[in-house]
Every structure is written in C-alpha cells, then in structure tokens.
C-alpha cells in the first residue's frame, strides 16, 4: 500500500510546509506496517472524512491523503486535522 500525504490550511494557509510525503508500507517494520495499514484503511479514512463537518476552531490543517491499495485502486480523502484522533496524528509524525 502506498500513502501520499500533503497538507493545506494552517495559520499561514500553506499547510505544514514542505513537499508531499510518500509512505510505502512494505518498507515499514511489521508492527508499524500493521498499525499504519489499519489506521489508513480507506474505509476508516472515509468515516473520518465524513465526520468532519462543522468542527470548531481556526487555523487548522487539512490532510490530503491518497491511498493506493494492493489492487492499484486510488482512494483520495481530505480530512481536517481536528477530525483525526491524537494517536493517528502522532503516527503521521513518525512516518
């Protein structure tokens, strides 16, 4: 599974800066790979993306996630940081 991560928004309107990040799950150690595949499963991401309406706050970042699964299908999601659980954000920081 390939995960492509980019951001927009934030206090500068420039996301978190930098270029997009690409994570090839096959290159991760087994325990981390399992966690990442579970967290970034397209069905899970779809649920998160659908729970994002009407969130309070300002200057929050939006994550743009493209997941290319084992069959080669692309799944694209725009998920506000505010809709993501803390442990998922911590995982994003380690990738």
């Amino acid at each position: 599974m390939l995960i492509i991560i980019s951001t927009s928004g934030g206090i500068g309107g420039t996301g978190l800066g930098g270029t997009e990040k690409r994570v090839e799950t096959d290159s991760l150690d087994t325990p981390l790979r399992e966690k990442v595949c579970d967290r970034f499963d397209p069905a899970t991401l779809k649920t998160l993306a659908g729970s994002a309406a009407g969130l309070r706050g300002a200057d929050r970042v939006v994550y743009h996630l493209t997941v290319i699964d084992g069959a080669g299908d692309r799944h694209r999601f725009d998920i506000p940081e505010a809709a993501m659980p803390a442990n998922m954000l911590d995982m994003l920081d380690t990738l």
């Binding site: 927009s8 928004g9 934030g10 206090i11 500068g12 309107g13 420039t14 978190l16 800066g17 930098g18 659908g50 729970s51 309406a53 009407g54 969130l55 309070r56 706050g57 300002a58 200057d59 929050r60 970042v61 505010a82 803390a86 442990n87 954000l89 911590d90 920081d93 380690t94």
Partner: protein, 367 residues
Amino acid sequence: MCAICDGHARNPITCIVPPHMLEVLAIRGSKKTAAMARSLLDQTRKVRHERAEFRTGRAMLEEAGAMGGFVSTALSRAATQSNLDRAIHDGEGKAGLPGKLLRKEGDPASGDAAVDEAYDGAGNVYRLYFEAFSRDSLDGNGMKLVQTVHHRRNYNNAFWNGEQMVYGDGDGEIFQKFTELSVIGHEMSHGVVQFSGGLLYEGQSGALNESFADVFGALTVQRKLGLEAHETDWLVGKGILGPDIRGVALRSMKAPGTAYSDALLGQDPQPYHMDFFVNTTGDSGGVHINSGVPNHAFYLFAQYLGGKAWEKPGTIWYQTMQRLNNPVATFAQWAAQTVEVAIGLHGAGSLEVLFLKRAWKLVGLPV
C-alpha cells in the same frame, strides 16, 4: 415525519434546519447544541429547529432600546474586574491536548522559552481586551486561558481548537516556534470571534474571521510596545519564518502580498484590493489569502487617523464584531457595520467616519 426526531428521543434543534443554520449553531451553540449541530451536519437529513434557541444562542443578546438589534453578551455587560487566569501545558511533542500542566496563573517563569512566551503573551492579549474594550477574557466571562506549547513533532502551525490555543515548535527550517506575540494575539482573537457570535470559517466570512485575528494580533504588539500607527511595521508572525526562508513574516497588513517570496513557500498570495480577490476552494475558500483586503483597510484607516491604533480604530473593529450578528457576513456587510459603529461613536460628519469610508473605498469596498 423527520427521521431525526421520531420516537421519544426528541431533538431540541429538531428538523428542517438548513445546513447553513446548523453551521451557525455549531459555532454559537452550547457544547451540547454544537455537538448536535455537527452530528446533524454529518447527516443529510433535514431537521426543524426551536426558534428561540436558534435566534439568541448564548453569544448574542437583544440590545435594550434598539429594535431588532443584537449585541454580544460581552458587550452588554462590560467587565470591571480582571479575572486573568492562565494555564500553560507542555504537549511533549505529542498530539494529545492539553498535555502536562507546566505553569499556572501566578507561577514564576518556568525557564522554558515557549511556555513563558505563551504565558506572558496571553497576559498581553488579555490586558488589551480588558483595558481597552472592557472584555473579561475570550468569552467575556473570565474564561481560563488554556494554551499548549511543544505540540506534536516539528509542527509548523498554531491554532485555536474552539477551547484552547495550541502552538508548535516549527521544524526549524520553514518555521521556528510559534509563540510570537502577534501569533498568540491572533489565536486568542479567534476565540473572541467565536464567543462574539462567530464568523463562519469559509469564504468571505472566514477571511473576516482571519482578518479580525490579524488586526488584534498586531494591536497586541503595538500596545505592548507603545507604538503609534506610523511607528509600527504592521507585520503578523514576524520572525517565525525559518532562517533560510526569504521573507519577514506570515502577513503584512501594510503591504499585503509582500511578506515572503520564497522557493519553498512561494509568493505571499494576499491581495490588498477587491480587484485582486482570489477565488479558490483551497484554504477554506482562501480565508488566509483574502483577509489581506480588510487587513489593509484597517491599516489605511489607522494611518489616516494616526495615534494609537488600538484606541479609535480598534474600538470600532471590536464593537463591529460585537454587534455584527451575521456569521456569514461579506466584506461589504462588515465594512457597512464598521461605518455604522463609527457613526454611533463619533458622529456622521466626523473625521473618523470620513477616513473610514475612504479606507474602505481604497480597497474596493465603497460604503
């Protein structure tokens, strides 16, 4: 029958509330109401609302003696006693909030620069609102100022999450730590907007929300340094860009579009005039881009008037926010409200009103 309120679990918002109203409730309602509104927004079912709860919420009250007028609760009861109460937490590089409490009100300096900057900065912002506008904290009711520093790892952002302020340390390349005074003032002012009836964080109303935060972030710095309008640089986020980034700040109110020009960050995209308004779906409809227009109008007005910008111009902007009662306001509606407030404070034929109208005209928003 509505699918939401059938059976015994009657929803207090109840049926046929259009989505834009639910978005307002998500901003203005009590915690419970906001959660419910968000839940209803998530669904596509139509619901009805109870009129009284919708009309007043908890942020706006009917103004005594003014037919049909509304003011924020903070403006309706001016604060006489300071209730400054700060709590600074250490996020320890993780995303969980608020994190470990490191410094509470009255504690001595911690020795951690970000913690102490957040503590001192929040005090400066609190005092601006309390001493200049008689507002007791973000909600006008002594709300505790909770802040988290060292949020996540190499985190290039600061934000208001609806309940507290959060600051990253930056990655040291693109951004440095975000506990700069105008940034602290900016984030706290998002809280003031939320507790003043709110401005929907999308399109022009979102850009007004951003602009209000920039204006009062800049005014916090000016007031702390005792600078008059002509003496200050009108920069927001000065010094937070990384050492190799070509730029001076996040935004310039004096010259929108000139804060940075860098190979990595690109060109500062802010317009200074409606002719250059940017139509985009990104950044919630360009909220951090088109805020350049009202930012520049405030700058021009403050320059025309001269003196301390947090006094007359700041009071007009602050009272406009408290009286707007329109979470989906356009730039033109905001401009018209500032003129109405200025007329109330200074008179229709005053220099203040003349200069204010001239400032709006110069950014392409004649009133």
